[in-house]
Symmetry: C2
Subunit: 254 residues, 2 copies
DNA sequence: GGTTGTGAAACGATTCACAGCT
DNA sequence: AGCTGTGAATCGTTTCACAACC
């Protein structure tokens, strides 16, 4: 292979590691809380504790964004909030559609965190005619037939799929064909999408299974005889196995 | 992770990498689908495609479990389903409680995938007296005052928190004090737990923010045309940027 | 022939540790 | 004196590529 994987711009660092990107929302949340308490500056140590990571990692993460701190002092809270928001693209408005208004879809529509941070629920879509026109979270559900029109009229580029697994790929295809390029998938299915479309998935039962694995191991260790508990000093440890990413279920629309 | 130093039994490799553990549920789901279609064997290539990962990774993952395949043939579907289930601890029954029966909690209670795979919703708990006794998904909601008793009476070791952020840490503390050692947290808050307790978190708005980051970047590249690669037709490589991990096929309970 | 299982190489992320600035 | 920013070391994960085996 002469060409190889062309991906490094080589010039300047627009290359923020994926692991860092995934933590930026965490920092943003901690910073927003500080901002609301009118805290003016914060050290990497304090902010890291609030976000549940360690301080070296946080400083490294921020170093990819630029030099936004002051040595000997810390970071300006407001300024950092702005910089991270901008980096994440949250200074603009993102209209999203939710397809599949069952239990989960309704829960998502009602979820405050959605609206709070640059995201706006532009439409709720379901295939069940009985739901059409019914307001959920104050937004009337529209019929799936309108999907393409809704996407285009609202300039939607992010779609949330909370349909049953069986419908997910089909819905996904239609979203993509209509112009959606980012999908958050709650249906327990592998979605196949064209190049250039991002999919993130959230699956409740996978998270539970991962927990069960560790739980089982704990039980095993305990039984096999080393101390009932590995004997730990600290009551609170920073790295208490926060999960990487999330998960949630899919629910029947009926 | 959470557990203390004690981790290498020194004997044999009970050290399955965390990344592998996180993928086992994906394989399991793909295998279950194959099993339902009565497919007897499957190659790493086919199974990897169904699970949305690449085959080398899948083989490496399986190699940590042991040698369960047959060279030149592939893997026996039923046998693998059993082995992975066992490894994940799904051959036993895991009673779970859901605390916080709002929109999301109700959606979780109704989620079929919960019951389908070794997990049993032992109780629904909420602090609102108006909900007490009201059935959700056929299970009557119990009042938060009963939490400790419920945990102990049912031998619950896994708890799901779907309360508002403000209540999450307090609920978490009570769950842990009552004996819960694995927590799935849907509240947008960092939970602090003692050593030996696993927490996995699921945060819908974080997922959206990560999508927004990539979305913004796409828009930027498109508009500015700051082409790091003036040529090169395709934008992305092989993987269409799935989420934290691959994706999965459907099991769909009843 | 086909496919697994696995060392070794490549890659990416985390942690260390300290120079450099306030 | 205190804290950031970052090279360098370390650790974990993915990918390669092929020997072992059916």
């Amino acid at each position: 292979m002469a060409t190889g994987r062309t991906h490094r711009p080589a010039t300047r660092s627009r290359g923020i590691p994926e692991a860092t990107v995934a933590r930026l929302p965490l920092y943003l949340r901690a910073l927003t809380a500080l901002s609301e308490r009118s805290v003016p500056t914060v050290s990497s140590e304090e902010l890291a504790a609030a976000a549940g990571v360690n301080s070296a990692k946080l400083r490294k993460d921020f170093s990819y964004l630029g030099s936004y701190g002051t040595r000997g002092v810390g970071y300006d809270v407001e300024y950092l909030v702005y910089q991270i928001s901008r980096e994440l693209g949250l200074t603009q408005d993102w209209p999203v559609v939710i397809v599949g208004i069952g239990n989960l879809g309704a829960a998502l529509a009602n979820y405050g965190g959605f609206a709070s941070r640059g995201f706006r629920v532009a439409a709720l879509i379901d295939a069940d005619p009985a739901l059409t026109g019914k307001p959920v979270a104050g937004i009337p559900v529209q019929h799936a037939d309108e999907l393409e029109k809704i996407i285009r009229d609202n300039g939607v580029s992010i779609g949330v799929i909370s349909t049953p697994a069986g419908a997910a790929q089909q819905v996904c295809d239609r979203l993509v064909a209509a112009g959606v390029t980012s999908i958050l998938n709650f249906a327990p299915t592998v979605l196949t999408v064209p190049d250039g479309v991002d999919v993130r998935k959230v699956d409740l039962s996978i998270e539970l299974q991962i927990l069960a694995f560790h739980e089982q191991r704990k039980a095993g260790e305990e039984a096999v005889g080393k101390g009932p508990l590995p004997q730990t000093a600290a009551g609170r440890d920073e790295s208490a196995d926060q999960g990487p990413d999330g998960d949630v279920p899919a629910v029947m629309p009926a």
